[in-house]
Amino acid sequence: MTPIVRAAHVTKRYGDHLALDDVSLDVERGEVVCVIGPSGAGKSTFLRCINRLETIDSGTIELDGELIGYRRMGDVLRPLPQRLLAAQRRKLGMVFQGFNLFPHLTVLENVLEAPLRVIGTPRAVAVAAAERLLQHVGLADKSASYPADLSGGQQQRVAIARALAMQPEVMLFDEPTSALDPELVGEVLAVMRQLAEGGTTMVVVTHEIAFAREAADRVVFMADGQIVEVGPAEAVLAHPTHPRTIAFLEAVL
């Protein structure tokens, strides 16, 4: 079976700076991959390239065998029109470090917006699904609140529910707990752990090594725009082989 996400030789530059340097990674269906590494390693950039919030300079990223954000024309890849790109992005859910909830909409409306406007799900069906999701993340009683009235942990859980409402094939998390007060990290990780156990395919950029050890099938260590080491969570975290991984883990643990 083809991997659900296949990144091959991806390169991304910001001016002279090589943010991604020949990055290749396959993610299998149902797999949880945690990406760790020092600041500036290119972790966010890689995640953002996967749903083409960033364009890439060379290489290919495929979702379920289909190029994302580009189409092949002869030997070159041309950017896909916005409309087609939007259709592809439905298959990828994204959770941001800063939550990015829609402040003018209530919690329920935040979760409903995309199913209603993008898929055209009948309202009653969408509401039922949204309420189920909010229940799932433990926020059934907050559906009428506005994001500004929630704690960071609650906001992030709404953001997870909002992404799940599109029934994505892969969930991308970019440091979902980094902006949270320490006492609120646990509630968000608990929701993510549940998702992982439920078989959701996840790519998680995180500094929570304990979470990676527990929930990840594989761990990717990135530094200087490259994937330095990748392997089963236990192997990379407990017995790293590359000196940079060893140094990084020593510093954070």
Binding site: M94, N100, F102, D149
Partner: protein, 289 residues
């Protein structure tokens, strides 16, 4: 020391009572305001030159009311067209295309730089520029007025709309894109509603200032509120009372608009400020920590 609850160190605090100059001002200023206002009112009522009976006679007269309607219509239509055109200019200003961008900049530079009265007179005489086009047939004073005000207003609305759109954080765009929303859906459902919070208050100011600016049309003989009053006093020489009629009407309309402005601001602010209940809860938690 013990308190009612018997908790050591928990001393009840008395709220600070303001004293000194500011405290004095707080007591004095209402009194001063009331006295001065009363004096002015008495002076105005007792001054026979105001001719309040004439004011009353004309206040609801047909000529004045028609003038008022013209003023309101002129404001509404010019504002609508100006906002639509301003929206287009704002999008041009936000475009990365240098030519589009420069064109919008030039427009805004011109229409903000030239006084409104000059623009009005200029459009009024535009047929002199192109006599062969025979513009006079449809360039009636009303059309001239709407044209001049809309073109002028568009330059201001462009900047207001642009800053509104720019006020929406990039993350909102990204979150909406990541959910698979099309650019149009993102604009309509995510960006504009949030931009409105920044756009509406200055727009309400624009409406109010447009309402007052429409009085300039008296120079091209459009019978708005002011010009209707002028028409009457040019015959009857009751200048002051008729100016009072116009003044009071302008104040009434502006007051109504201000009330509407407040309502709108409160409505679009929903979700951007914490609701009061929540604020007290968090401050309570902060105090305990």
């Amino acid at each position: 020391m013990t308190t009612v609850h018997g908790e050591p160190g928990r001393v009840p605090a008395v709220p600070v009572v303001s004293t000194g100059r500011l405290g004095l001002a707080r007591v004095l200023s209402p009194a001063i305001v009331i006295v001065v206002a009363a004096a002015l009112l008495v002076a105005a009522i007792s001054n026979e030159n105001f001719q309040w009976d004439v004011v009353a006679r004309y206040f609801l007269s047909g000529g004045i009311l028609t003038g008022l309607l013209t003023t309101l219509a002129l404001t509404a239509v010019s504002m609508l067209i100006g906002t639509a055109l301003g929206g287009v200019l704002a999008i041009m200003r936000l475009s990365r295309h240098p030519v589009t961008n420069a064109a919008a900049n030039a427009y805004i530079w011109f229409f903000r730089g030239v006084p409104l009265l000059v623009q009005l007179v200029f459009v009024y005489n535009i047929s002199a520029l192109y006599p062969q086009l025979d513009l006079n047939d449809w360039l009636t004073p009303n059309v001239v007025a709407v044209l001049a005000f809309s073109l002028h207003e568009a330059a201001y609305m462009a900047e207001i709309i642009r800053s509104g759109i720019l006020s929406v954080p990039k993350g909102q765009h990204e979150a909406a894109s990541a959910l698979g929303m099309s650019p149009w859906t993102i604009t309509r459902r995510i960006v504009l509603p949030q931009a409105m919070r920044v756009i509406l208050p200055p727009t309400a100011n624009q409406v109010i200032s447009m309402l007052k600016s429409t009085s300039l049309v008296s120079v091209i003989a459009v019978p708005d509120l002011l010009y209707s009053a002028q028409l009457i006093y040019s015959r009857s020489f009751q200048t002051i009372p008729l100016l009072m009629v116009a003044t009071i009407w302008y104040l009434i309309v502006v007051s109504v608009l201000s009330v509407l402005q407040n309502r709108i601001e409160r409505r679009v602010g929903r979700g951007f400020t914490r609701s009061p209940q929540r604020v007290s809860k968090t401050s309570g938690r902060g105090g305990a920590a």
